[in-house]
């Protein structure tokens, strides 16, 4: 049982990144109303680019994250103004738009996934940066995981402050609540939607950078991370940042415990059990709005 | 005979009481109006009766049977039907099919196809839409879409019909025709409870009026009594009299 504290801490460390994963998806759906199934693919892109920058130019992952952030933001921004805005304009109803957007994001999933396969090849690769063990409060933990967790939380706090304190942040939240009213009050709704989608993509890429510090980078990581992001988002509530982090940490701990006390192969089924119970009891998640 | 009654009806949304400790009754064969300013709780009350929303507390009885905990389709089969404020028609289906849904599923027993078809024809004739039976409902004008809703509700063979702002958005001619339609419906033996903002309609056809304000019933009486009621005039009719008549 002395394993327990270490497992829990390990889970928390993973959970920070899960929270970051969910944040991006949450922004995209909460504001732009696009459930981006290709989210995980953008994570993969971030991870691959970071791997590339580290192995080719010896750029450390945190700096790499800052480098890949803007282009990923641009990709998300452009996707929203072209693809998803077009879909919105043509769709007969909100539900039809969301359904079509979901399907379109499937298409994106295949496109990005293929491009990843083409560039990266079929085999996962890893690199080592800060990959050594430190003792922290009597437990042996790897430094890269601690750093990744700290950065994830820092980013989360920054985004949270941005959304709650800044003018643009308030505009974003208003648009998420009620786009029509926000528009009437002078918010450039179209710009906000595009910004949020771009921000979501940026967060995905950065999460990918952080993940690449810890796990091998491969072409299957896209799908896996999308599933995690989805579960965390539903658990934590679509649209809530604190919720995403709390849920991320819970999921991280669950994953850690199941791996430690049972078998890794049961992790996803357990996630799913939680998801099912939640969707029945409170479809809005822990701290969700709707 | 009391066909519908409610006692101690409450509905809370979070901390807000949309309907507060309401008691009401409707007798068979009446046309009762339900008026009040926006947000007074009128549509909420409809939603409670038809079970679109669950009660927070209290009870509503139809023909003596408690409606608490039942689902909308069960209440429909018992004999309560309704129309909606934002016309909830089946847009892509033709008029006849919209009404057919009501004819087939509105009864507690299985309805044979020929009977259902006959129901549809009769209902369409009653509201005057026979000529448009094949038109997709989304292509109709607002007043005709509302007629489809009425025909559809009638096809479920209700004893009590709830009409939610049937006259909203209609011009004076359409309002007059709709008023005649409502009276004709009552003449076939159906009891009617109608939410309305159009004062002319309320005063013209309702025998009794209930007035809601902030979720509470503040008055209940004949048209004349309500028109003379000081509280009501203060709260509502004062503005409404200018707007609607």
């Amino acid at each position: 049982m002395s394993e327990l504290p270490r497992l829990i801490v390990s889970g928390i460390l993973s959970g920070g990144i899960y929270g970051l994963l969910a944040m991006g998806l949450s922004l995209q759906y909460g504001v732009a109303r696009v459930l981006n199934i290709a989210h995980g693919e953008l994570v993969m892109v971030g991870a691959m680019l970071t791997w590339f920058l580290f192995t080719s130019f010896n750029i450390n992952p945190l700096v790499a994250a800052a480098i890949i952030g803007p282009p990923l933001f641009a990709i998300g921004f452009l996707l929203q103004i072209t693809l998803f805005r077009g879909l919105k304009a043509w769709a007969p109803s909100q539900a039809a738009f969301e359904g079509n957007a979901l399907l379109a994001s499937f298409g994106l999933l295949y496109i990005i996934s293929y491009l990843g396969l083409l560039e990266f090849g079929a085999y996962p690769r890893r690199y080592d940066w800060l990959n050594y063990v430190v003792t922290f409060a009597g437990m042996s933990l790897r430094l890269n995981r601690i750093v990744a967790f700290a950065v994830a939380v820092a980013i989360g706090v920054a985004v949270y402050l941005f959304l709650t304190r800044s003018r643009l942040g308030r505009a974003i939240r208003a648009t998420a609540e009620d786009p029509a009213t926000a528009g009437l009050m002078g918010v450039n709704v179209n710009m906000v939607l595009a910004l949020c989608f771009g921000l979501g993509a940026l967060l995905a890429g950065v999460a990918g950078s952080l993940i690449s510090m810890i796990n091998p980078v491969g072409t299957t990581m896209g799908f896996r991370n999308t599933v995690i992001a989805l579960i965390v988002v539903v658990l934590g509530g679509l649209g809530s940042i604190p919720g995403s982090f709390i849920a991320g940490i819970i999921i991280g701990i669950v994953s850690s415990l199941v791996t430690g006390f049972w078998q890794p192969v049961y992790v996803v089924p357990v996630y799913f059990g939680i998801l099912m119970v939640l969707l029945l009891a409170r479809p809005a998640g822990i701290l969700g709005k709707k | 005979m009391r066909i519908l009654e409610g006692q101690g009806v409450n509905k809370y949304f979070g901390g807000l009481a949309a309907v507060s400790n309401m008691a009401f009754h409707i007798d068979q064969g009446e046309i009762v109006g339900l008026i009040g300013p926006n947000g007074a709780g009128k549509t909420t009350l409809f939603n409670l009766i038809s079970a679109a929303l669950p009660l927070s507390s209290g009870e509503i009885r139809f023909r003596g049977r408690k409606l608490n905990g039942l689902k909308p389709h069960q209440i429909c089969k018992m004999g309560v039907s309704r129309t909606f404020q934002e016309t909830k028609i089946f847009g892509n289906m033709p008029v006849s099919q919209n009404v057919l849904v009501g004819a087939f599923f509105g009864s507690p027993n299985r309805v044979p196809a020929e009977d259902a078809a006959r129901e549809v024809t009769q209902a369409l004739e009653f509201v005057g839409l026979s000529a448009m039976r094949a038109t997709p409902v989304k292509d109709l004008t607002l007043v005709n879409q509302k007629r489809v809703e009425v025909a559809r509700a009638l096809a479920t063979k209700p004893e009590l019909l709830l009409l939610d702002e049937l006259m909203a958005g209609l011009n004076p001619t359409e309002i007059s025709e709709s008023m005649k339609l409502v009276t004709r419906i009552r003449d076939t033996g159906i009891t009617i409870l109608m939410v309305e903002h159009v004062v002319k309609a309320i005063m013209g056809i309702c025998e009794r009026i209930m007035v809601l304000h902030h979720g509470e019933k503040i008055a209940d009486g004949t048209c004349r009594e309500i028109a003379a009621n000081k509280t009501v005039i203060d709260v509502y009719l004062g503005e409404g009299a200018h707007a609607g008549s």
């Binding site: 539900a95 399907l103 295949y110 496109i111 799908f223 | 679109a52 599923f105």
Partner: protein, 325 residues
């Protein structure tokens, strides 16, 4: 004469009926002259026809976008895997369908009360879940993951798929015209209103969901021998959810022939693309999907309807001008 009058009044029906019989005859004799490649291609096309039409029956009419076809298809595949040595093939087929139906019932009951997008998420996750659970159970209970499927003659699989495809199309045709079909459409039109007009929406949704799962399970059983080797990754692969959706959307869900057309076109495209340009298959699939969603949301059938309307309008106009003169 009676016959000529019968023919003239039922002209359209007879035309459709006769052409269908010709197609059926053509298909039924295919293995004789088609060769292995075409027989297998047609089997795959028929499989996709079953999947896309079943998907459209539920999701098209009720408006709930289900990403679960891969689950029920996979159940069929695994049923074949486990029963192949115990029971004869024709008996396994309905069992696979039945198991899928049974799995779909609680899934539907649990999830169909969810709002649209959550339902989509859940059914998407269900595919992943099944894959992981089956893998976990297999490794725990049997010590290995995946199994070999004894191959069956191409003609057997083809005819089985043909029979099931025809049965599926007929069944769905009649369901659409039945009370259940009307109830489904009313739910898609406006679920709240449908409930208030007496439709037991939960029962209708769950039943329709389970019926569509049944057909998907049938297809899975038949397809299994063609795969030779199955494991959870292969059996519960998301592509078997995406493809039917793409096919139905591309073909157009409003009309009956829409998903069928979509299935034929896309199954053919998939097979040939995979064969000729295996590296670019995924890329092409993704691009096509996005383009179709963007420009043809109502699919081919919707386009055809629009054209018919426009054409009809033009003809009517010409007719009127003709009369005026």
């Amino acid at each position: 004469m009676d016959i000529t009058r019968f023919i003239s009044t039922h002209r359209k029906l007879l035309l459709v009926g006769v052409s269908l019989l010709i197609i059926l005859g053509f298909l039924a004799t295919l293995p004789l002259y088609g060769g292995v490649y075409y027989t297998r291609l047609l089997t795959t096309i028929l499989m996709y026809v079953i999947l896309s039409v079943s998907w459209a029956m539920f999701s098209g009419s009720t408006g709930y976008m289900s990403l679960a076809p891969a689950v029920f298809f996979g159940v069929g595949i695994y049923t074949m895997g486990f029963l192949q040595r115990i029971l004869p093939f024709p008996v396994i087929i309905p069992i696979g369908g039945l198991l899928s139906f049974i799995v779909a019932l609680p899934v539907g009951l649990v999830t169909l009360r969810l709002k649209g997008i959550y339902f989509a998420i859940f059914t998407f996750g269900l595919v992943v879940f099944m894959r992981e659970v089956v893998a976990a159970l297999e490794s725990d209970l049997f010590g290995r993951v995946g199994q070999h499927i004894n191959p069956l003659p191409d003609e057997t699989m083809f005819y089985a798929m043909l029979v099931i495809a025809v049965a599926t199309l007929l069944a769905i045709y009649f369901i659409r015209r039945s009370r259940l079909g009307l109830a489904m459409l009313s739910i898609g039109g406006n679920e709240e209103a449908a409930a208030h007009m007496g439709v037991n929406t939960i029962r209708v949704k769950v039943l329709t969901f389970a019926i569509s799962a049944f057909f998907m399970g049938l297809a899975g059983v038949i397809m299994a021998p063609m795969k030779i080797y199955i494991d959870p990754r292969i059996a519960f692969s998301p592509i078997y959810s995406f493809m039917p959706i793409l096919m139905a959307v591309f073909g157009g869900m409003g009309q009956f022939y829409g998903p069928v057309a979509g299935a034929i076109i896309f199954a053919y495209l998939e097979k040939t693309l995979r064969a000729q340009f295996p590296q670019y298959f995924m890329l092409g699939f993704g691009i096509i999907l996005v383009l179709i969603i963007l420009f043809l949301p109502n699919g081919i059938a919707g386009l055809v309807s629009k054209l018919q309307n426009k054409l009809g309008g033009v003809i009517a106009k010409l007719g009127k001008e003709g009369e005026a003169e």
